[in-house]
Amino acid sequence: MISYITKRLWQSGLLAFIMSLIVFLGMYVVGDPVEMLSEEDWTEQDKIELAIELGLDKPLHEQYLNFAGDIIQGDFGVSFVHNRPVLDLIVERLPATLEIAVLAMVIGLSIGIPLGIYSGIKNNSRGSRIISFFSTIGYSTPNFWQAILLIMVFAVFLKWLPASGRGLTNSMFGIEWAWLSLDGLKHMTLPAINLAIYKICMQQRLAKSGTQEILYQEYMTFARAKGITRNRIIRRHLLRNILIPIVTITGLEVGGLIAFSTVTETIFSWPGIGKLLLDSIHMVDRPVVVAYLILITLMFVFINFIVDVMYAFLDPRIRHQK
């Protein structure tokens, strides 16, 4: 297990390095920061001075080392638009994204997996067909369109829930959270449901196909032949075995949720990092975009690492591979 973890750790480091290189090359070589920062009436001399100040006169590998060095020290630069350190901006908005992502994940898992197991066991029953029908519609509907429909139904027609903003926040451990107040929870509901619908459909399909694959394995037949009760077979044999693909996908989907929160947050004006990214892209606020991409990359590398370790933990065959 230790050697497996060490190997994955090394690979994760390499992955982080390559991605940071791609972001660096993309953002700093394709676009010219001097052109973007300079004013119209600047002379050539001013521009050269700015380039020297930004370290752009140095060779490429040195520039990359400076860039990586700053990041390792937690210095992501200052936002052009907000005129504040980028890291502060992101850290400030992260809780908002995390709370709807976690809520969406909880909803997705707790509804999707039971539905999937049911429709896998009772394949071809009426209930299973109805579930599959709605699941197909659910994952065929783009996220942003679901968001618009949710707003139309629950905010405009029924007027039950607010359609934008985060509402009242309360502080816990020095961080502002929306889920601590009723108003905040109301504001969270629609964005979280929006993120969760796709998760429910995804988990339902995964759990269904997993269930169907396992249902006819010999150990299942054997368990039935031994006279083990139905509930125990489902809990001990079925659930454990379908968990392997679900853990992998769920881990990766945590990242997917954060990625898709760009869409959801933009539509619901939810002040998280996804909205920050999109606003920054529109306003060409390069330091924020770079910092977001680097941080999200590191997060993904970390999630992938955790997923691999979990996977190895659940499935002994993997950790004993060469």
Binding site: I18, S140, T141, P142, F144, F300
Partner: protein, 301 residues
């Protein structure tokens, strides 16, 4: 010599056995064909050319469905703020959405298949580099990679096609490699190699046709994914340009009017988008189910 007639017969037989007895999948296929035809014929069957700003009349702006336009025509699905006929805009939007997705998926799949075949036949460092690149891609959500690309290179129809290609190739390369590796263990490949046929010829003549099936099964899914991704990016304003609205951008344009009760500008493109993706997905599900030996096994039980 390959007997094309025989191949075609087998293909049509296979299509029949995929769809017969599955009315939902047949409906999906028919719906998809109608959408493709509408998109292809849009310039001839649309009541109006929505890109031609000269013929638009601002007096016709924001009319609800079934209203009469100034020139006597009926706007079946209403008009937008500029007086553009929604039906025509949807037809042209469908055309652009399908075009972008088709091009991106075909190029992405081709690149993926070639890289997969190369990885399988060359082995060594070529294989390592390709497969590590695949791992790298697969570990990121497509929408973020696309946003990253569009943030760096700017927006436009060509840019969004590149961004979607990035999302398509990797899984295809992985699939092609694994099925080509299986194929390479068969004796006829050894026989071909011993008889001195060059390796690129073995790759194109034997490996490609015999290992491409699992990739083709994934193509419908990739297509609906690309359509959804393009719509999302265009909705967010980082996709196609405002002068050539795709379905996603049409929805974004109407979004501002939704709250004031002018629902038709967004709702119709939205319905068409969902129906399009739904049609492709039910076909994709059926094709996948048909090719999954596990599920077939259960049908018999």
């Amino acid at each position: 010599m390959i007997d094309y007639k025989k191949k075609l017969d087998t293909l049509s037989l296979q299509i029949k056995s995929i769809f017969s007895g599955h009315p939902i999948a047949i409906a999906g296929l028919i719906g998809f064909i109608i959408f493709v035809l509408t998109a292809l014929l849009a310039p001839w069957i649309a009541p109006q050319n929505p890109y031609d700003l000269m013929i638009l009349d601002i007096m016709d702006g924001l009319l609800p469905p079934l209203s009469k336009l100034g020139n006597g025509n009926t706007a079946w699905l209403g008009t937008d703020a500029l007086g553009r006929d929604i039906l025509s805009a949807v037809m042209y939007g469908l055309r652009l959405s399908l075009f972008v997705a088709f091009v991106a998926v075909s190029i992405g799949t081709t690149i993926g298949v070639i890289l997969g075949l190369l990885a399988a036949t060359k082995g060594g460092w070529v294989e390592s580099v390709i497969m590590r690149a695949v791992d790298l891609k697969v570990s990121f959500p497509g929408i973020l990679l696309a946003l990253m690309m569009l943030a760096i290179f700017g927006t436009g129809v060509d840019k969004i096609i590149y961004a979607l290609i990035i999302g398509v190739w990797a899984s295809k390369a992985r699939l092609t490699r694994s099925s080509a590796l299986q194929e390479m263990q068969k004796e006829y490949i050894d026989a071909a190699r011993i008889s001195g046929i060059p390796s690129w010829r073995i790759m194109m003549k034997f490996l490609l046709p015999n290992s491409i099936a699992p990739v083709l099964v994934m193509v419908p899914m990739a297509l609906s994914g690309a359509i959804g991704a393009e719509a999302t990016l265009s909705f967010l304003g980082v996709g196609v340009p405002i002068t050539e609205p795709s379905l996603g951008l049409l929805i974004a344009n109407g979004n501002d009017y939704l709250l004031s009760g002018k629902w038709w500008i967004s709702i119709f493109p939205g319905i068409i988008l969902v129906l399009l993706v739904l049609c492709i997905n039910v076909v994709a599900d059926r094709v996948r189910e048909f090719n999954n030996p596990y599920l077939k096994h259960q049908d018999r039980q």
